[in-house]
Symmetry: C2
Subunit: 150 residues, 2 copies
């Protein structure tokens, strides 16, 4: 009985030490969540892209609002790549887990560049905005190339 | 030719005057976006619910972090209920558009209550947090009852 209790405590502590997994009841919930956060991010990033590529007029206020949302969303998906979330309805490559440090670096890079993008948008300077947009878009592409299946 | 051009301009201006629709290339993109924003919101709201209902220990810092995300996400879905987004992969009821003022009131209520929830979480007082959680959860339920199909 004592042994069973100790095992239970050990299992509970293991769960506590893996907060990324513990935040989701099921792996499929984590996958759905991270895809949803990318969907929201992409919608706002797309509006910035239209401005950066001259398909829509540059509007500093709209750019700042969209970039703020991108910077907020960019913090979210990473906690949802816990153990067991490599299978299912996902394009996540095994390299996310086998090259975890490199994946974290890529995730951090998106977050830091999107913060710079929001700051650049707020200057109202179109050239600064475009440069920061391209730097951020580069982090999307490089992470997708390495860690997302086609 | 001149008439065709004027019609084109009129159509373009009409599109510009409906920013909610213009932000999405297709109705299905808007639907996917609003569902994604609710998915992200629900994940964080669920963690608050676990604390409010005593299924997880109250952790003021985690509660504040999750409530901040809920308050941010609560601003997003509404722009995606533009014209033409009543059909497709959605549980949205026609009342969203036929009772637009009531729907807007419900959307505003979620936003104001979730801001109060984030503030309550930051006080670190469990009773204040629970009360604010219940008030916010009430806005979810009442809006789902009126505007979302089962």
């Amino acid at each position: 009985m004592k042994k069973m209790l100790l095992t239970l405590i050990a299992v509970s502590c293991a769960a506590l030490s893996v907060p990324a997994v513990a935040q989701f009841a099921k792996a499929e919930d984590a996958i759905k969540y991270r895809k949803a956060s990318f969907t929201v991010m992409a919608a706002h990033f797309g509006r910035l892209g239209a401005m950066a590529q001259g398909k829509a007029p540059f509007d500093a206020q709209a750019a700042a609002a969209n970039a703020d949302i991108v910077a907020s969303m960019a913090k979210l998906p990473w906690a949802a790549y816990g153990e067991g979330t490599d299978q299912g309805d996902t394009k996540a490559k095994p390299e996310i887990w086998t090259q975890a440090a490199k994946f974290k670096e890529a995730a951090d890079k998106l977050q830091s560049e999107s913060v710079k993008l929001a700051a650049a948008a707020k200057t109202g300077r179109e050239d600064a905005f475009k440069a920061a947009f391209n730097a951020t878009a580069g982090t999307c592409k490089s992470c997708h190339d390495d860690f997302r299946s086609k």
